[in-house]
């Protein structure tokens, strides 16, 4: 069972990754996480939004209201420069971490 730090860190990383191809609204981000992780993480969807707001406040995401594909106004999040840098370094850290864990588990 991963610790809570790791958990939030993982969610943040996934969110940043979700918007790395361009602006997305919260629902789309949640759906992407659900589909790409095959619901393994089983995130309560409501928990996504505090994370989004927190990242926005830290300046890693920026937000903008605009028209969505259904014609309704939706809030779109996009990666700021700081967010992109953060994503890059966190991803590196994550790979080192998971690689180390995988190597450790491989030693039987």
């Amino acid at each position: 069972m991963p610790g809570s730090d790791l958990y939030t860190g993982t969610l943040d990383l996934l969110i940043l990754k979700a918007v790395s191809w361009g602006p997305r609204h919260g629902y789309a981000i949640g759906r992407w996480i659900r589909e790409t992780t095959s619901d393994v993480l089983n995130v309560q969807e409501g928990a996504l939004y505090p994370a989004l707001h927190r990242l926005e406040r830290k300046g890693l995401l920026s937000e903008e209201w605009r028209q969505s594909e259904t014609g309704r106004q939706a809030k779109y999040y996009s990666l700021t420069n700081a967010g992109r840098t953060h994503l890059r370094s966190e991803r590196k850290r994550w790979e080192e971490y998971s690689g180390a864990v995988a190597r450790a588990l491989a030693v039987t």
Binding site: H25, Q44, G46, Y49, H53, S62, E63, T70, R72, A74
Partner: protein, 903 residues
């Protein structure tokens, strides 16, 4: 910074809507997803909510977090912005120190001078007097018609006062008081000190509503004949003479050789009556230090002839001043009908505040008006400086706008900048006013009533500074509004050198400066009129020669009832001895003494009957200022003899019956010198009734009260025939009059150690002192006019310099086309002169209309004196042209190739 302002605008300011819409959108999309998977809408909706979690609590958490963040971000942005604005303003001002210094100095001068003058005006005219309910206090005077039928205020007699106090119902209380000089101490020769005293009815303290600091005020039982002597003393005397002894009450003190028990000490600052607030002839000291009971005996109750009492009443709140006066006059008329139907007397009530301020009200209002002119000029100057600066900054603002600063942001910046200026100027103004008030107080004539009540009123200072800051803000808003936003972009393209000042705006600025020139001319004309009048006054011959003359008051101890008949031999012997001994001293040319020293403010008057003429109705006969003289008075002051002789030893017999009159007396009451000489008159002012005196000499007129008065009839009586317990000594010496001071003190002490010596000064300083009010006015308005002229010069310079800067290109073209530099100079000077001439014409017109309020302040100069107007106009005109010289020279040095290429 600009980036932050963009981001701010992209965040929805309404946190609740932001969160609600976002969550609602999510739920809607999720519901739609479930419906696509084949669920019923209701089921889909339920599943969407369930997979979201606790919608309510998440939503409210998000809302709270976002609201707090928005607020904090707003505050931080505002604070950062303000800090940046102030820092930017300071930098901008530092970059342009000339502008900043000019604006702050102008503001400081305007605010400071106005506050200083207002402080004096406030203390003398507006602040309540330091007594209980001062608005209910009224002085009571009797009125008497003069030859021309106008009414004069005179003091009451004891008889009239006693009747009024007994019968009048309009007053809660009424009190009488009169000046009484005491010498305090006197057991040893060096110890005696003259103190300003007053004999007052016990009711005075109740009327004024002031309680003693220590002890009790004396009661009615102290004011009956034969009662033990008691006295109240002032806080100042208590400190000075008794070292603030807390056990003072009950102590004995020697006042004019008699022992008095001190029964109380009045609180700090209480000095009623203060001489400057009451008519000078009543001879109250500037501050009264000793109060003793005014005792009426049975003869006083019947005395309707000696007008020597001042009276003050506290009218009942329900009774108006007019009704109280009507009641008093009614009582008086009934009495006169029954007893003296031909006497035309009346009562007049004057509120204490009016009485105190009456003499100086007009002068102070004129001074305040003058300083308001100065303030107006300062405002015009600042307005024109700010507009000039705003115009010059179009380019700078354009750059900032291009970098992304919003309109509101730039406007806020402009407002902040003006606010910084206004605060700096306001604070500097407070400093100037603090210092200015001190200077004013040192200049304020001692004769200024209520001088002690002048204190800085901090409420006024705060209000004035607040007003200045508010004005600064408004100016800032105005200049923000005057930025032509639409043109900011084109400003960048033009490179900023092209003339952008449109004609209308330039005209407005020229009008401001024209107004400044006009106002400063009005002030200068006012100052010049006062100066001319002052010079005239100084050259007025007072009728005596003040040079080489020493003056000093000498007083004999005066105690008990005033008994001039019984004490006459002692008084006249002592004082005649004094003048004779000093007269005979080496180095002394002539020495004499007089009861009312000319130009010292002292004055006594009385009626007389000319022998052989039909008696006049009471109060309508000949009237003269009279003076008791001793020794060689006329020779000491070199008052020329016109006919007859001066007094000599043959007049020393108490019944010799001789007087000397002046030219004005002869002119008014006789056909000529020969008609008057030898004629007998019977004065009513001497102590013995029915005496007749022969006119033995006629002397030239002497100015008694002020240099600007007309000659009035005067009568001189020898001291031997009308003894006074105190006279003013005048000693003419060969050299510096002050060298005679030790001699005078030595001789007087040799005669009687108890003689008090007061007011030792040269006669010239008495003359100078009599002009202190005029000097004060002249100095103050002169300073205002000078400052106004400097401000106008600066304002004019600023406008011309700006016009030249804006027209550089045009000037360059002209020079390139062959105009000579002198033509350019002439062009600029013409521009300056146009403003100068317009201002001068306007100023002359305004001065014609305004200077007449100064009528009463001027002597020997018409309020529309042509010479003064012409000279002041010439000064202002040349100053205006001078303002254009610098810019004109710079214009002629414009290099045509540079200006043309720059385009």
């Amino acid at each position: 910074m600009t980036k932050r302002s963009f981001r701010l605008s992209d965040v929805r300011p309404d946190a609740k809507r932001d969160v609600d819409d976002e969550v609602a959108f999510h739920l809607e999309m999720r519901t739609r997803e479930f419906i696509e998977q084949g669920l019923s809408p209701d089921e889909a909706h339920r599943r969407a909510a369930a997979s979201f979690g606790d919608v309510q609590s998440i939503r409210s958490d998000l809302r709270a977090e976002r609201t707090g963040r928005n607020e904090e971000r707003g505050r931080r942005d505002w604070r950062n912005g303000l800090r940046m604005d102030v820092r930017y303003s300071l930098r901008a001002l530092r970059k342009n120190p000339g502008f900043a210094a000019a604006a702050i100095a102008t503001l400081a001068l305007g605010i400071g001078a106005t506050l200083a003058v207002f402080t004096v005006l406030n203390g003398v005219l507006l602040r309540p007097l330091p007594y209980k309910d001062p608005s209910h206090l009224a002085l009571v005077w009797m009125t008497i018609p003069d030859d021309k039928g106008s009414l004069w205020d005179i003091p009451l007699t004891s008889g009239f006062y006693i009747d009024l106090a007994r019968d009048a119902r309009s007053f809660d209380d009424i009190a009488a008081f009169r000046s009484w000089g005491y010498s305090i101490g006197g057991e040893g020769p060096s110890d005696a000190e003259p103190v300003a005293g007053a004999r007052v009815t016990p009711s005075l303290f109740k009327v004024l509503g002031v309680r003693p600091l220590l002890g009790q005020p004396f009661g009615d039982d102290a004011a009956v004949p034969g009662a033990p002597h008691v006295a109240m003393i002032s806080h100042a005397l208590w400190q000075r003479r008794f070292g603030s002894d807390p056990a003072i009450v009950g102590r004995q003190v020697t006042l004019s050789r008699e022992s008095f028990t001190i029964v109380g000490v009045m609180p700090l600052g209480f000095a009623f009556p203060r001489g400057a607030e009451l008519p000078a002839p009543l001879q109250f000291g500037l501050r009264t230090d000793v109060w003793t009971p005014l005792v009426f005996d049975s003869s006083d109750a019947r005395n309707y002839g000696t007008n020597n009492l001042a009276a003050i009443g506290r009218r009942q709140s329900a009774v108006s001043l007019e009704n109280a006066e009507r009641e008093a006059s009614g009582l008086l008329q009934r009495f006169l009908q029954a007893n003296a139907p031909r006497l035309k007397l009346g009562y007049r009530l004057v509120s204490m505040a009016d009485q105190a301020g009456a003499k100086v009200k007009r002068t102070l209002l004129i001074l305040f008006g003058s300083v308001l002119f100065l303030l107006l000029i300062a405002c015009a100057n600042i307005a024109s400086l700010l507009v000039a600066r705003a115009t010059g900054r179009q380019r700078e603002l354009a750059v900032r706008a291009a970098l992304g600063a919003g309109r509101a942001r730039i406007a806020r910046q402009l407002v902040t900048e003006n606010l910084v200026l206004a605060v700096a100027g306001g604070l500097a103004g407070v400093a100037v006013s603090y210092w200015g008030t001190k200077v004013m107080l040192s200049l304020v004539p001692g004769s200024m009533p209520r001088a002690d009540d002048i204190v800085t009123d901090w409420r006024v200072v705060v209000a004035a500074t607040g007003a200045a800051i508010l004005t600064g803000t408004l100016f800032g808003v105005a200049s923000a509004l005057s930025v032509r936003w639409g043109h900011l972009a084109s400003e960048l393209h033009s490179g900023g050198t092209r003339s952008t000042g449109d004609r209308g705006r330039r005209l407005g600025r020229q009008m401001l400066v024209t107004g400044e020139v006009a106002l400063s001319l009005v002030l200068l004309i006012g100052a010049a009129l006062l100066t001319r009048s002052f010079v005239r006054l100084q050259s007025v011959q007072p009728g005596f020669d003040a040079s080489h003359v020493l003056a000093a008051g000498m007083g004999l101890p005066l105690a008990g009832p005033f008994d001039p008949i019984g004490n006459a031999p002692r008084w006249s012997r002592t004082l005649n001895d004094a003048t004779a001994r000093i007269n005979a001293s080496p180095g002394v040319v002539a020495a004499g003494a007089i009861s009312s020293l000319p130009l010292s403010g002292a004055l006594e008057g009385g009626g007389l009957r000319i022998t052989g003429r039909a008696p006049d109705p009471p109060g309508e006969g000949p009237h003269a200022q009279y003076n008791v003289v001793s020794g060689n008075y006329f020779r000491a002051l070199r008052i020329p003899l016109v006919a007859g002789r001066y007094f000599d030893s043959s007049d020393d017999a108490p019944d010799a019956g001789s007087i000397i009159v002046n030219r004005a007396f002869v002119r008014k009451y006789f056909a000529g010198v020969n008609d008057a000489l030898g004629h007998t008159v019977s004065p009513t002012f001497t102590f013995k009734r029915g005496e007749t005196k022969a006119i033995v000499g006629i002397v030239d007129d002497v100015k008694q009260q002020s240099l600007d008065e007309d000659a009035t009839p005067q009568v001189y009586v020898p001291q031997s025939q009308m003894a006074y317990p105190g006279l003013a000594l005048v000693v003419r010496v060969k050299g510096d009059p002050l060298t005679a001071v030790p001699l005078v003190r030595r001789e007087l002490r040799a005669i009687d150690p108890a003689i008090t010596v007061t007011d030792v000064r040269t006669m010239q300083s008495v003359v100078d002192h009599s002009l202190e009010r005029q000097r004060f006015n002249m100095t103050l308005i002169g300073v205002f006019a000078g400052s106004a002229l400097v401000l106008a010069l600066v304002g004019l310079y600023g406008v011309i310099a700006l016009i030249v800067a804006q027209r550089r290109r045009e000037i360059g073209v002209r020079l390139a086309l062959g105009a000579r530099p002198t033509d350019v100079v002439r062009m600029v000077l013409m521009e300056t002169s146009r403003v100068g001439v317009a201002g001068v014409v306007l100023g002359i017109l305004a001065a014609f209309a305004i200077t007449r309020v100064m009528q009463s302040m001027l002597y020997g100069v018409s309020t529309t004196d042509v010479v003064t107007f012409a000279a002041a106009s010439a000064v202002v005109l040349s100053v205006s042209v001078a303002a254009g010289l610098g810019p004109a020279r710079r214009a002629s040095q414009v290099d045509p190739t540079v200006t043309l290429r720059a385009d």
